[in-house]
Amino acid sequence: MSDTSRLNVIGRPLPRVDALEKVDGKARYVDDYRIEGLVHCAMTLSPHPHAEVLSIRTDEALAVPGVLGVFTAPDVPVNQIGCVFQDQPLLAAERVRFVGDRVALVVAKTRDIARKAAALVKVDYRPLPSVHDAEEALKDVAPKLHAQGNLLAHQKIRFGDAAACLAACDVVVEHEFEVNYQEHAYLEPQGALAVPEAGGGVTIAGSMQCPFYVQSGVARALGLDRNRVRVEQAVTGGGFGGKEEYPSEVAALAALAALATGRPAKLVFSRAEDFQISTKRHRMRMRYKVGADREGKLQAIYVTQFVDSGGYAGLSTVVAERANTTAAGPYFFPNAHVDTFIVYTNNLLGGAFRGFGNPQVTFAIEGMMERLAARLGMDPVELRRKNLLSEGMPLICGQALPPSAPSRDVLDTLAQRSDFDRLRAEALEFNRTHRFRRKGVGLALSMYGCCLHAGGQHLEGSGALVQVRADGSVEVNIGGTELGQGAFTVVAQIAAETLGADYARVRVLPTDTRMVADSGPTVASRTTIMSGNAVRAASLQIRSRLVELAASMLGCPSREVEVGNGAYRQVPVDPPALRPEVSASAPSPVTIDHPSSTISQANVRFPDLCMEAFRRKLHLAASGWYAPPPKPWDKDTGQGIAYSVYCFTGNVAVVEVDLIGGLVKVEKVFAVHDVGQVLNPVTLEGQVHGGIVQGMGWALSENLVLDKGRCLNPGFTDYLIPSSLDMPQMDATFVEEPYPDGPFGAKGIGEPSLISVPTAVALAAGDACGQLPDRLPVTPETVLRWTAKDGNGQ
């Protein structure tokens, strides 16, 4: 399966299935839906980070011409929502817990009227003391946000005896790291449309990653059976995790409005609302202690970290599980002790964001490797190489690293491809000859558990529906979604390759809860593997029916039928004993290698075959299902099988720092990714480039500023995501070692593309200034503080 040279569709740089409809603007995003009788929603939001709601007066808002209704907590059938813990109101009743907590929903004929009326909802608040730091929130004196207190959860890793080992280590390094929020800044804001259905129930169309989360979330809040909630994903303008759990809230609000007014209702966020009230990458504080022997062999790691969940739980415990489990990065430690505290505060909601807790701990562990190397007087790359995990070695959760795991190839390829030693020498030379500008080089590695953590494995099963039409065109439905990452393109390739169909005639339809069973979320870099395997399973069923048919048409045994290049052809296999792998019961995924003398011209083209199948009343539709094996997990010790497979990544960044203004310019980023197998080099590179630039933004310019829970820069004017002028030169290289359980050997890429980039960039900026960063982002203020300290910028 690893050899893609004999494949026709897989591995080729085919154009995306959805590109044409996007270049002329015809692709329909949720705000583009035009529908008869549509009404619009707007929200009244809390201006306080923490307050008691004494009263809500809606009369003034209701009196605005064009307003159809104003809804508050008592109007919500089941006003306890939340993806994991139901600790959150859809509309706050007695208490608000963050700036932006919703207290009322206004429905009106136009969006303008709804917004104006929402501002006229009079809420009487009694402000309460608020807490804005996770560790402060754990103190006795801190105001309590929820009945259980502010500690939402405490996760652990207990592996060996880290404390005892550290006490005996030759060298121990200790440091604290802190990282700020990151806003997803998908270009399309959150939005949902709800249409009330005859006979009860509602149809949702919206910008989302997880239609099945939306289905269960809406059903719960409105007290409906899930079969009364149909969810179709609209074309979605970016997600990056920000449209994982949050759209369930947006959709539930729209559904509430639709069912209460009997009209189709839409809610679309303004950019400022999206900044303030949707989820962010978690702010985290991480205290690391690492011990090693004199030769640089790592002995023990001891981590205490705090995850700021904000006012409600959301997915914070799930994000934290990843930070907890991969706190040691891609390195072998015989002893590990990790405490991860997930804490309520009156800050913004933490949630899913590309990397999901891993970019934070990567910054910490890679910072520790640099510090340890400095202490030992060792080359930091050599220290990493010496301690890198490889297949079969135990992770800190006790799991033996499963295949494929080409960690060493990734590091070696990165060092060679970037010519790392030369880059460092060039930077030194540059710095020797320049006074106000400095160059720096940073290298970072990461390890990412692909697909869901053991804690979420009940959501892991994924489905697909493949239907072949009589004309040879193919329709595919998957449970995963297309957010821009290219999922529909790779599943179309998988279907075309498996069926022998024409890629250009495979159509992947919008994800719809009516078409496929609950397939879990489109997250965790799992869609290529999960939806891809499901599509392949469905396609293989149809293919075996077509092979039988082709055999009867060609007058040959089915084991002599070869599939590929748009046709099913007879390839006489003689003698069969020499080709044991060819059998009708187990179709080979690749075309059969054969001596050219035996090639037969007898073949039947795929569309002709499909027409004949239709005439013979064959069933050319199949649903496929893929679920990985169970992963045992003990949450008290954090020991077990955490993930089915891991992805290794390395980045090298080269930056130039302007010592006078403090600006860091990223000149070049190298990325090496272990992807199992490349399915489409163009979409794959696209993911890597996007991940690099988004990661670079968090490292340098994306600094979300909060004042008592209020975002002071809720827009692109002051929250600076990289533009075309900021992008570095990028170099992406892929290490291919097929993942045995991946479709055609593939793993995921969505998140690995970002994870170690912020660290590599920050380390490069630090390197330029002779510093080791411990805060993200590295702002110009940070650089100026560094340079003022050693007098360089003067």
Binding site: A19, G691, I721, S724
Partner: protein, 161 residues
């Protein structure tokens, strides 16, 4: 209310708007949903259109001020059946991901290539600086603009696929 006449993708269109209505809102009200709203404050470029040949963020242009103007949107540039070479290049180069910035991005490219037919990379970066993309890292967008420039200058072989 103000009566305004626009030439919208070559079609004369009369409409009545509020004095403070923004061009983006007017266009979307007229069914031009190929013009996207990403921020509403002129910072993201998703709502870019060509107004009398110049690239503008339609969310910060008063419709009344555009009276008599010629407006080109992405759908006016070309369609899926008959794409403009810039649009074909975006498809071929892999410059499209989520697609929300794309209609504005192809118009920013058009505005550049109308004036600078053979831009270098730095000129392309400068021209696209007002159009944010969160998905692609801009690499393939820049590739697409370069390739479109070659096609428009007749220097490219016939595009395949």
């Amino acid at each position: 209310m103000v009566n305004v006449t626009l030439t919208l993708n070559g079609e004369k269109t009369a409409c009545t708007v509020l004095p403070d209505e923004k061009l983006l809102d007017t266009l979307r009200r007229l069914g031009r949903t190929d013009v996207k709203k990403g921020c509403g404050e002129g910072t993201c470029g998703s709502c870019s259109v060509l107004l009398n040949g110049r690239l503008v963020a339609s969310c910060i242009v008063f419709t009344a001020a555009a009276d008599g103007g010629e407006i080109l949107t992405a759908a006016g540039l070309g369609t899926a059946d008959n794409p403009h070479p810039i649009q074909s290049s975006f498809v071929k180069a892999g410059a499209v991901q989520c697609g929300f910035c794309t209609p504005g991005m192809v118009l920013a490219a058009k505005a550049l290539l109308d004036v600078v037919p053979e831009p270098d990379v730095q000129q392309i970066k400068l021209a696209l600086d007002g159009n944010l993309c969160r998905c692609t890292g801009y690499v393939k967008i820049i590739d697409a603009v370069q390739s479109a420039a070659r096609t428009l200058a007749g220097k490219d072989e016939v595009p395949h696929a």
